[in-house]
Amino acid sequence: MAAGKNLSLFKDKPVKVLLAKPGIDGHDRGMFVLAKAFRDAGMDVLYAGLLPTPEEVVDTAINEDVDVIALSLLNGAHLVVFKKVADLMKKRGIDDIAIVGGGTIPDADKPKLEKLGITGNYGPGTPLKTIIEHIIMRAEEARSRKLGIA
């Protein structure tokens, strides 16, 4: 099939995103602000609940066949937890679901996360528009992988 035709397969299907705040961080308000912003931007939004394990995040992402997992943490444990999610995805051979990060992430850690395929990594105060555009970009990447045209 031609690439152009393939891309049109999902053209009316909203970006599906799983919001997750795995690990030991219990603040949830920020998540609901994001969830609402994503929905208003026309996405299908899932929320993995309070303190899901990395395994639960990955299982949910697969069951729901999301385009993007959006991970967020505010307590500095991001490297360990984000890496766990990325490792699990890799172990299970999943390359057609993108991972983006967010939270209070020191600049020094960002290249490490990028190397794991976790992009964005926006801090507090980032305009929602920037985050949304980034998610849509990564979702399109993931979808073209789902369709085998990457």
């Binding site: 049109s8 397969l9 999902f10 053209k11 009316d12 299907k13 909203p14 969830a35 609402k36 994503f38 929905r39 208003d40 931007a41 026309g42 996405m43 299908d44 939004v45 899932l46 929320y47 993995a48 609940g49 899901p52 394990t53 639960e56 299982d59 949910t60 697969i62 069951n63 729901e64 066949d65 051979g93 999943i94 390359d95 057609d96 992988r145 789902k146 369709l147 085998g148």
Partner: protein, 318 residues
């Protein structure tokens, strides 16, 4: 990972979760209709084994909570269980918050139950088609019980529920006058009534209200039970589980119901097929069905033309 429709179908039949998930993505996306259909056609022969349970009722009565508990109990009896839940999407942005999962996911996580959220966008024909197809995928994948949560109103809901063997209508105290309208609409399709939130005031009144209405309604062989649930301490769940299993056994004994279900399946497929074909019509292909030029000249009204065209395929309306 890219898979051909054939590979996805094989994966579904082998019970592979990623293939199941991808198959549902494809049947949910109306632009992937052709691929989705290919998959359904090749797995259809393996469907028909699952017991399909629809749970419907107004928002907030506790459907998702009930499904979490019920799925977990069914799993405890050795059944392979999957859940599909439909969330309402915003008609303005098309986006949706898939919140049903939140109410049940702790149980799902613990028990490793497959659950998929669908969003209620697009045409009602499209939604029931994709829900039916998602259920077929899970059925062919070997799930023994598939529980479907619907939004609880409208024709789309009734179309979806047409595929269920057993329909549980969930209500809760405090619905006010609304309950009369719901009762009227759902009395005929309910196999079981649930009054949830038995810990709340007015729960026993609500139960009695339903029981009284049922006593006045002519019923067939199956006597519709009214089950009270407390979803916090799980009172009533044994009774619900027993009622569901009893009804599934009752339905599956009857060859008449298999035919009726297939009638519903074909009707839904026909609805999807005609929508597809109508959307694909052009001026020139429509000219093969009616003489557009002459219709314009004679100022024939569009309904008459549409009736003539439909009649030639589907016959007169009885």
């Amino acid at each position: 990972m890219t898979q051909t429709p054939e590979e996805i179908a094989d994966g579904v039949l082998a019970g592979d979760i990623r293939s199941i998930s991808r198959a549902i993505t494809l049947v949910e996306d109306h632009n992937s209709l052709i691929t989705g259909r290919k998959i359904i056609k090749s797995i259809y022969g393996m469907t028909g084994r699952a017991g399909i349970i629809g749970i419907t009722g107004p928002p907030g009565v506790g459907k998702s909570t009930i499904i979490g508990n019920l799925a977990s109990m069914l799993k405890g009896t050795g059944k392979k269980v999957a859940v599909i839940a439909i969330d309402a999407s915003s008609p303005f942005t098309n986006g949706s918050f898939l919140g049903n999962r939140i109410r049940m996911q702790d149980k799902l996580y613990r028990d490793g139950i497959y659950m998929r959220s669908l969003s209620s966008r697009g045409s009602s024909g499209g939604l029931s088609r994709s829900t039916w197809d998602a259920v077929r995928v899970l059925d062919a994948a070997g799930y023994d019980r598939i529980i479907v949560e619907t939004v609880g109103a409208g024709q789309a809901d009734l179309d979806i529920l047409g595929m269920a063997h057993t329909i549980a209508v969930a209500l809760a105290p405090g619905l006010g006058d609304e309950i009369q309208a719901i009762k009227a609409g759902l009395m005929e399709i309910a196999s079981i009534f649930i009054i949830n939130k038995m810990d709340r005031d007015g729960a026993f009144m609500a139960m009695k209200d339903i029981e009284d209405s049922l006593a006045l309604t002519p019923q067939n062989e199956w006597k519709i039970p009214v089950v009270g649930l407390n979803s916090i301490n799980l009172d009533g769940y044994e009774e619900l589980l027993a009622a569901i299993e009893k009804h599934l056994a009752y339905v599956r004994k009857s060859p008449l119901s298999a035919k009726k279900r297939f009638f519903n399946e074909v009707k839904a497929a026909l609805m999807a097929e005609s929508e597809l074909r109508i959307n694909a019509l052009t001026e020139s292909s429509m000219s093969g069905l009616t003489d557009l030029e002459s219709d314009v000249r004679k100022k024939v009204d569009p309904y008459t033309v549409a009736e003539e065209i439909s009649k030639s395929v589907l016959g007169d309306i009885a």
